[in-house]
Structure formats: structure tokens, C-alpha cells
Amino acid sequence: MITIPPYLKPGNTIGIVCPAGYMPFEKAQTCIETLTAWGFKVVVGKTLGNQFNYFSGTDQERCDDLQRMLDDDQIDAILCGRGGYGTGRIIDQLDFSKFKKHPKWIIGFSDITVLHCHLFSNFKIASMHAPMAAAFNDGEFKNQYIQSLHGALIGKKADYKTSGNILDQPGKTKGILVGGNLSLLANVIATPSDISTKNKILFIEEIGEYIYSVDRMMYQLKRSGKLHDLNGLIIGGFTDMKDTTIPFGQTIEHVIKDLVKDYNYPVSFGFPVSHDKENYALKVGVDYSLKVEKDLVELKEL
């Protein structure tokens, strides 16, 4: 049975923490203002604005900051300021014993995929794959994707509709939604954060990788059995993909299509979950229905 953390009410407190890469404080300003405008109190951890080389603090500082947020009864949800890299360096040092008794929403994506996977596989606690602080900037706090985060936080059930893609594999299914960043999904395989994808709807997105590298990671998912027993597959954005000097000769979409075309489950390509602004809030560990039709894709929270 999956544990769904309590949804937020006006006056609840969101803590902002950076478990991975460095984020300047001012880049979170609009996010803080927006969360406040939504009626929440905001507290920031020591790691926001803090820097240790690439990271938002030493491993110890990042671990302590997130630990404090996990354990603090006054904090009702935790929004990660940004991803980058570093969550995997502290995940095994975190103590989830208090959090397990009093779960709260943990929000983020990209490197935060490690947390989503870890919480789901170890504690069956749902978490939120959604835009982080920087996505609120440049006037984007009004867009439908940031708004979807607001809806998700207050317990509004999502019903996302998007246009179809010529590569889509049609069908209807239901299942628990799992997924996140492809590199991190591959990176946690065989570790204590690895997820079972059997009978799940899996979503993946990626940024800044070579096409051959995406191909190799998709082969890893396939060869490790992660694609065989899915109920459905959602291919999100593959942002800023790179190619080698000798071209790979296939687009990302065709690379993935080649690997999943023999499966009978529905597959949606180009779903708005990505490192671009098109990034709907998705609840990892929660049941959804997925409908893939010729001109319409619908992902609906059950």
C-alpha cells in the first residue's frame, strides 16, 4: 500500500533545500514569493545560496539540511531548489525513520529522481516530480506547469491532456506512476534505491546527453527488465541532446521507438515532463490512468 503524504492547506509551511548543486539565493526569490502568494509559509534551509565548489554545501551540510527538513514537524513539504548532481552522495546517510512516521511531500526532479526512487522502493511513500525554484523565474510562475504544482500540493487531482505524436503506441492503461530522469534511473539500478517497474506506468526525461548515450541507457533499462512488464510508458522531453561527429543517424524518439515497438502497452512520446518549461507535476507512487489515442494523450490521476 502506498502512503500519500498529507496535502497542503493555507498556512502550511514549505521548506526549500538544495541537496545537490549550488543555487544562488536570488534565483529562488520568485519561487518563494509565489509559494507565499499561494498561501504557504516558506522557510529556507542553509543550503540555499550556500556553495561548496559545485555543490550547495559539503556532503555533511547538505545531508544535515535535508535531514532537518525531513524531521521538523513544522515543515509540511520540502521543495528542492534545484537538481544538478549530488543527491546520490548523501542518500544513504539520510535517516528516514521520523519521515516514515510523518511523511511529507518531497518535490523536485532531475537529480531528485534519486529521492523519488528511494522513497518509493524503500518506504512506498509518494513524492512529487515537479518544477523546482528556478522554473518560477522570468514570469513563468504563471504558466500551467507551475500552476500544476500548486494543484498537486493542495490535492487537486491531475488530468493532463496533450496532443498525440506520430510515434505513439495507442492504448489505455492504469498503474502506479514511477520515473524521472533517465540517467538517474539507470544510475540507481542494482542499488538500494532501484525501483521495480512491473505493472507501472514509467515516465522518463533527459537533458544534455549524447544520442548514443541515451540509446545505451535505454538498452540498460531493457536488458535489466525495466521495460518488459510495464503497463505504460511516457516519454517526456529530451532537452539539448548532442550528437557525435559521425552522426548517430536516428533521432531520440526513433531510438526509443525501436526499443519499445514490440511491447503492447501504450507509449506516449513528447509528453510535457522535461527540463524545459513543459513540466507538469507528477506524483511518483500514485495511481494514474493513461490513454493514448491518435490525437489525444490523457494522463489522469485516479
Binding site: 565548489n53 559545485y54 545505451r216 538498452y219 535489466s224 559521425i246
Partner: protein
């Protein structure tokens, strides 16, 4: 001591002057291990390309050198074949590799080059005949897929070394280390005793360990996780190398190894060359390869040596994957010796 000094201090100790010792060395054979027959004069080496494209011209130096060693050489039609980045379509590369491993006339297989593509075909290869009649498979980088897959699934050792694309065109102008690294392939193939020595470096961790040598390209090792080619490291000496990855990626891959228990039960760790991609401005990772590795293995007690001459560099000496080795790291230096 500067880096150049220790690289030039690497001396393969195989001292036989003839290419074909009369007695093939294969002592202490592990009962479950199937060491392919060492090569004799007149034996046939096949060249095939299961990964990236390479032209026939680029294989000429390797072909000539191996003929000079006294072998016959045959190439298949994946050499020169091109399907974008690949040496032909998946079907062509599968067929090429399959024929080479099945053909009883072929005694060893050298891969044309690495690149990318082995993982796309590995599950389509039928190793039944190969398992009964093992032969040496030679390569590195993307070929790590074969090393992992074959060593574990069939108990058959393989050779991690330079491939056709790394043979110098003109040996008369080649550096000493180029000549030595290429000759180390011959030494492996004919069954000479393999022993490498390195000068000490401060970052090493002293100790002695004995175990089968496994490893290769770190990115590939991580990508084998959870699959039928998964690398098993318990009781083994692990070697790793990588090229062109950011420091944070290397860090993440080593966390994967640590978190998937691939580092906890080693008998030794050999860190080869890591040609790390420079960090982007403002994204400085701030840790050296020594720190990145040591923080993962600090609680273990096996020997660790750095800057071992294996990787995407000129000093890439041949290693026998799946064969028992002894690793000795001390303040006098590092010795890696094949004792199988």
C-alpha cells in the same frame, strides 16, 4: 615525481625474445575457468567490428603487425562497413561476430575499434560453440561489454587491450610505450608471463591482494548493472578507466558501483587513466580522481593503485580479464602479475 616519469617507468616484464615459447604457460588453472588456447605461429586472428565504424586502411597497421608476429589475419565485411556511427547494421555486426566466434579455423578475435554498439547486439549472440571452443577476444572501451558478459557467464578469460585503431602506422617512429603496449598484446596471446611494475605514488593504498582481474570502462560497467552482462566483483581485483566524462559523472558512476556492492568485497582496485572532461565554468566539481575514488573505498582495506597504464591513452597495456592476478602495492611501487 611527474606523471611522465611514472608512465615511462612501466615495464612489462615478459622478457622472452622469441614470439612463440615452446611451452604454453597455463599453470594453476581454475577448475571452472576455461582459458582459451594460446596462439602459435600460423594461427589465425580474425578482425571484426561489433561497435563503431573503422575503415580497412585503419586496420592495415594491425594486420601487418600481427602477420609480422607470425599469425595469419582475416577480416570480415564489418571492417569498412558503415551505418552512420556503426560498423554496419546491428544484423551485419551480429552476423560478423557470430561467424568469427563459431569458425573453428579462427584462433583469436581482435575487434576493430570501440565506439558504441556492443550492447545492442550482445543478447543476440549465441555463445554455445564459443563456450565449447573458447578463443581470445581482444579489445577495450565498448568491448568491456564482451569482457563482462563472457568472463562471468562462461568463465572464459578475454584480453583488454588496444585494438586495430590503436596500432601506430609506422613503428619506426612509434614511441617506446606504443611499441611495448602493442607487443603486450602478442605476449598475452602467446601465453607469456604477464607482469607490470609501476613506481610508487603517494595516493596509492598499500596492500596485497589475489583474485581474478575484471573491469574495463567505467561507463560500460555501470551500464551492465541489472543485465545478463552484470560485472561480478566479489573476491576480484577490479580495474577501471574512462574517457571524456565530467568529474561529476565519474563520481556518480562510482557511487553506483559502491551502492550496488561492487566495491565492498574487492581484493584490490586498479585505477587506470581517467581523461576527465574539464568542468564547465562555474560548475567546478573540486575533487581529483584520487579523492573521488578514495572517498568511496576508504572504509575497505584492499590495495588501491592509481595511474595504472590502462585506458584511452597511449600507455594502455594488455590485461587478461578473468585470469587470476596478484596485486602488490607498497612504498616501493605497484606490481600486477598474472598468476593463472
Amino acid at each position: 615525481m611527474n606523471r611522465k616519469d611514472f608512465l615511462s617507468a612501466v615495464i612489462p616484464l615478459a622478457t622472452a625474445t622469441t614470439a612463440f615459447p615452446k611451452t604454453i604457460i597455463s599453470n594453476k588453472k581454475n577448475s571452472s575457468k576455461k582459458i582459451p588456447p594460446y596462439l602459435n605461429k600460423g594461427d589465425l586472428v580474425g578482425i571484426t567490428c561489433p561497435s563503431g565504424h573503422i575503415s580497412m586502411e585503419e586496420c592495415t597497421a594491425a594486420i601487418n603487425k600481427m602477420k609480422e608476429w607470425g599469425f595469419e589475419v582475416i577480416t570480415d565485411d564489418t571492417v569498412g562497413a558503415k551505418d552512420f556511427t556503426f560498423a554496419g547494421t546491428d544484423a551485419q555486426r551480429i552476423s560478423g561476430f557470430q561467424k568469427m566466434i563459431d569458425d573453428p579455423k579462427i584462433n583469436a578475435i581482435m575487434l576493430g575499434r570501440g565506439g558504441y554498439g556492443a550492447v545492442r547486439i550482445i543478447d543476440k549472440i549465441d555463445f554455445t560453440k564459443f563456450n565449447k571452443n573458447p578463443k581470445w577476444i581482444i579489445g577495450f572501451s565498448d568491448a568491456t561489454v564482451f569482457h563482462c558478459h563472457i568472463n562471468h557467464n562462461f568463465g572464459i578469460p578475454t584480453i583488454h587491450s588496444k585494438m586495430c585503431n590503436s596500432f601506430p602506422d609506422d613503428f619506426s617512429t612509434a614511441t617506446q610505450s606504443q611499441i611495448e603496449t602493442i607487443d603486450s598484446i602478442r605476449q598475452c596471446l602467446v601465453g607469456e608471463k604477464m607482469k607490470y611494475e609501476r613506481l610508487p605514488i603517494a595516493e596509492n593504498r598499500a596492500g596485497k591482494g589475489i583474485g581474478d582481474l575484471v573491469g574495463g570502462n567505467l561507463s560500460i560497467i555501470q551500464m551492465m548493472d541489472g543485465s545478463a552482462s552484470n560485472l561480478h566483483t566479489e573476491g576480484k581485483i577490479l580495474f577501471i578507466e574512462d574517457v571524456g566524462e565530467y568529474a561529476y559523472k565519474i563520481d556518480g558512476m562510482l557511487w553506483n558501483l559502491k551502492r550496488s556492492n561492487k566495491l565492498s568485497k574487492l581484493k584490490g582496485l586498479v585505477v587506470g587513466e581517467f581523461r576527465i572532461k574539464p568542468d564547465d565554468a562555474g560548475e567546478e566539481f573540486g575533487k581529483t580522481i584520487y579523492e573521488i575514488v578514495m572517498e568511496k573505498v576508504q572504509e575497505y582495506h584492499y590495495p588501491v593503485c592509481f595511474d595504472f597504464p590502462v585506458g584511452h591513452v597511449r600507455e594502455n597495456y594488455a590485461l587478461k580479464c578473468g585470469m587470476k592476478h596478484e596485486l602488490t602495492v607498497s612504498d616501493k611501487g605497484t606490481i600486477l602479475e598474472c598468476i593463472d
